[in-house]
Point group: D2
Chain length 352, copies 4
């Protein structure tokens, strides 16, 4: 396929870990031409200054952000910026005919008041935000296929919601019982010069953070409520793990009906995900290790029922920068373009 | 203090990670003389063959296990052996006048039937086992002070029970609501040549294990039930973390009384642990990092109340080989001998 | 391309880390059909028992090793076995018309006496061994293209020889001055239950091993001598690093001619490797990080000249299981079949 | 011992990793009272804000740096500041009667021109600098015992010089042959918010830095030249290792006399270090692992002779923040006060 017939794609905010994943994935995608790399603080620098290992494959210079230039140059725009910036760009880009995939929190909420409360910032783009679709393909496949503004999910919500969705949709659990104990590698904190992300601080130690207050809580709750058909309030606790990539969400729910057995639940999951190539259900007694998902777009699910306590425990493992970020955005783009959902995405992680 | 006036102590099962901690701690303790090192597979080898870095401080040879010799040589015996072996030695050692600290599961249960069910092995030493005291000083200080057989707690139960005890004792929580999501470093698996403990398998990845079936569950439940004054069934899920040392238990409980605030709960913890030098309560908003406890006998507790969900979340961090094993055994020995609980135990971890 | 027109390939010794890399790479290669997985201790087990994350992509059962079956089923055979076993299989497989890629040390030496001395084992397959070609494509591209028995290099020799080759070939360095200080991740030790490979032993620590006696020394020396046209004796010291994958070789050589500058040397390297797509020369002042090569077949080279000491220092970074093992074997197979050297091999690592 | 009779000690620059080691060590030292903590950017903050795990043991507030106050409050001053600051403080403190231990590079050089060249900064305190003693006790024990200004060595020079000293002193090696390939954990980079020190950048990867230009080179060379009695120019290459603490220096030297055997060399080392309690010579075939030294002030030396190449290879392992920084400074203080060199310093590391 010649470059001229490929889909032109821009990345705005290319210098971070999410950006470099996108660059690598789009570079390798057979139907895509990467026509623009933009950034703020990194504008003017060659991309391989930031990531020398990518030379000579990605030799572009990062350009200052200019919406006119972007719209001229690209049909599809990925915004990989800090929260709060996309809302100032997406309306214009949409107007100019672009399809926008936003990787920040800006377009993840249907209820903008929730956003305003948890992100402590007022919104003026209500009508645009209402058009946005939550970019979790396994749950909103049809809507993504026709959307022009996709709010790509956060890494924790992806792992958590894929674990919970079949239970919520089928009404199997007591809604107030949900506890999500989530564990993330340090790359989730971004390529930022922060004290708590230093190797000497993170290495060989483990701690929780944002207890009762993490901003991914309302994001999970809003989608969970949609699935359950009623308001869900849940417990979400993130932890920082001494590893670079990966998320494991350990999800605890009390069953409504104590008569179900593990195989019943597994059958429900199988049915729910039968058309989802990136969800991999594990057989009985096998629990996922986050490294299994490295570099792939897979979500591994292990399911256990504790008959003593009446709880179902779901283990959900993803690569936080792939299914939790860039890989999922590309999966959504594949859907939006009518391509196969798996195109351009590696399916087997290397191991160990 | 001359050697002749020191307390003579034996370690049986000195070659593992628990053993080497004991060796190091007892070596440094001003009132103790280490008079015997015994082992099975390692018998005949010099201890510094196994741990060259301890030369020339510990130059003893590991002796084959001989109860007569032990009792002649030592007043106090630490048994650091795989589960199931202590029950064949403790009765004889007690008879010969020794004080026995067992680091295995053998003497942790008051209800031996629970042991028999979860450890799949019958017991014939019921009368001796009934005399054993659970060696968690913060909960059973008085009984340890006069006991001759102390069943030292497992690493997960220590972290979990110290997090739960004030809540259970004061009847503050709904008993069926307890979820313990625990995370351990790899040294908890011992110095054993096992595939799942290889660096290449553990590094940079995270997984759960033993869900709904881990043997520390009934141990936690038995003590929790004693504290609560009624039967407690709880959820316990351990995870293997890519770090060598440390345990973090994240404990979730639903409050009975929604009117309490965080400061009330903290006050209750302060009162409960006012005489416990090794429990360190953190101020509001500070959560412990496991590395803070490295090499010390401390248990750091961070406490949070989520008013949205009505749950109290307690973070409990220890060094699994210290407060979770050898350090705690030495703390119990200090108590038993009438010495200060902190004697011979480092109080400040190095950092980072 | 239909399966029937693909090249049939067997892997013998599929259960180890080298094996699983081959499985994954061959599975993804567009011109190859994986028709046989064999093993000794793992025979009879499903491959996804050993690596559950590969289900459902690789659902084969590992078969007991049977040379007749292999030759019937496959045109190309990869032997990924412990040293000493390939020599009993390769002669028969060659006779039956197979092309054999051996990943052990058995066919890496032209001088079998060297093998016999360093590997302490006599050889009876001298005539077959003489036909073997050393499978380092950058040095022996033409010979590999027509060989039927390829002795694939070890991981340390690959990193070391790619660093040294241009210097030796051009006669730029004092031959007795070569010091190779090499650092490897733990996966180089294989998927073996060994004490020194436990996470708790390897993590957060660093040590040298095999000083003056490591078996990769004579392998490097034999090829280096061929390149230099005279006998080379060098210093090689391997170290075990607390990381899973990657090798860095830091190579020190004293220059013969003190008048050369860094740019001269770089020009020589560029010319030497101008047809080698997997060698990536870094610009001045940039030194490779092993993670840059993860999952790819690349060798990154950074070159520095110290004018104070007259030494050239070459940094050579590879993924020990890719360019250092399975990836390189596949590169050699590509060459042997007349395909592009890069076919089926990922060129961009994910990062971080 | 009452506080009034203890030695009063100040730490200036307490917030970094070197500072916190000093705080911990001085806190635990039986003869020392920590009477002042000072800092620049951290002034006004409680020390336990920075290191919550030290509460309630260290509850001091960090004070703005005021030399008058320091001299009033303390007899001994540790300066743990970035390079270039001590030279503005030490002259005044000495004048006011303090004994000064500087942990920066400012007072490590006898030849200030070397400092000016490598640190690119002019010096105006020549007369004071001439009085300074290089604070490596194993080499300059007598001079430290009477000095008032001690320039404490860098971490790399400590490991390197202890490996080299007996060889240089005895004239056993070819002086131009020395290659030091050094490996350090990330804490050597300090508690600084720098991109290359992020966990996601450091983890699971390895790289060299500062090749041919690292500032520890002239520091090693100056002391090496003193020991050898003639000018030494050597090769020093540092590497960043994915671990928090520890340095391993692998030192290569060509022997002058090919007739010596390993045992001869070991005898020379034993004699050289017979009065040095912190140097631990390992038996034949045992090489040190950096973790052996964790938290202790020990330097482990393993020595190998390669008869094929005529090189002696010395492995030298220390904890970079202890023997490589704070521990060594305290050892020097012990010497200076006429106390036992080992006082207040842990001798056994915990393991693993």
């Amino acid at each position: 396929m010649g470059t001229e017939s490929k889909l032109s794609v821009a990345i705005v905010g290319a210098s971070g870990y999410g950006g470099v994943q996108l660059v690598r994935l789009l570079h390798a995608h057979p139907r895509i031409a990467l026509t623009y790399l933009g950034g703020n603080s990194s504008a003017g620098r060659s991309f391989t200054d930031l990531y020398p290992q990518l030379a000579p494959f990605v030799d572009q210079v990062i350009e200052p952000i200019d919406l006119d230039v972007i719209a001229e140059r690209a049909k599809v725009v990925f915004l990989a910026l800090p929260n709060g910036l996309a809302q100032g760009m997406a309306p214009t880009l949409l107007e100019k005919g672009c399809i926008v995939f936003d990787l920040s929190a800006d377009y993840r909420f249907r209820n903008l008041q929730t956003y305003e409360t948890w992100y402590k910032s007022a919104r003026s783009d209500h009508s645009v935000a209402q058009e946005a679709v939550y970019g979790l393909p396994e749950l909103f496949r049809d809507r993504i296929a026709t959307a022009n503004l996709i709010g790509c999910p956060g890494c924790y919500p992806t792992a958590s919601l894929l674990a919970l969705a079949p239970l919520l949709k089928q009404g199997l659990i007591q809604l107030e019982s949900v506890v999500i104990d989530a564990k993330s590698g340090t790359s989730g904190g971004g390529r930022q010069e922060k004290l708590h992300l230093l190797h000497s601080e993170c290495d060989n130690t483990l701690s929780a953070y944002g207890i009762a207050h993490h901003r991914h809580t309302p994001e999970i709750e809003e989608v969970a409520s949609t699935l359950a058909g009623q308001n869900v309030i849940l417990q979400f606790t993130p932890h920082l793990i001494p590893m670079t990539r990966g998320i494991l969400a350990t999800v605890y729910c009390t069953m409504r009906d104590p008569g179900l057995v593990r195989e019943d639940i597994l059958t429900i999951y199988r049915a729910f995900y039968r058309q989802s190539p990136w969800v991999r259900l594990l057989p009985s007694g096998i629990y996922p290790s986050t490294k299994w998902a490295w570099g792939t777009n897979a979500c591994y699910l292990g399911i256990e029922l504790d008959e003593r306590t009446g709880r179902v425990i779901v283990l959900s493992a993803i690569d936080n920068l792939m299914k939790g970020q860039a890989g999922q955005a590309l999966q959504a783009l594949n859907l939006r373009m009518g391509w196969d959902e798996t195109e351009g995405l590696p399916d087997l992680s290397f191991y160990p």
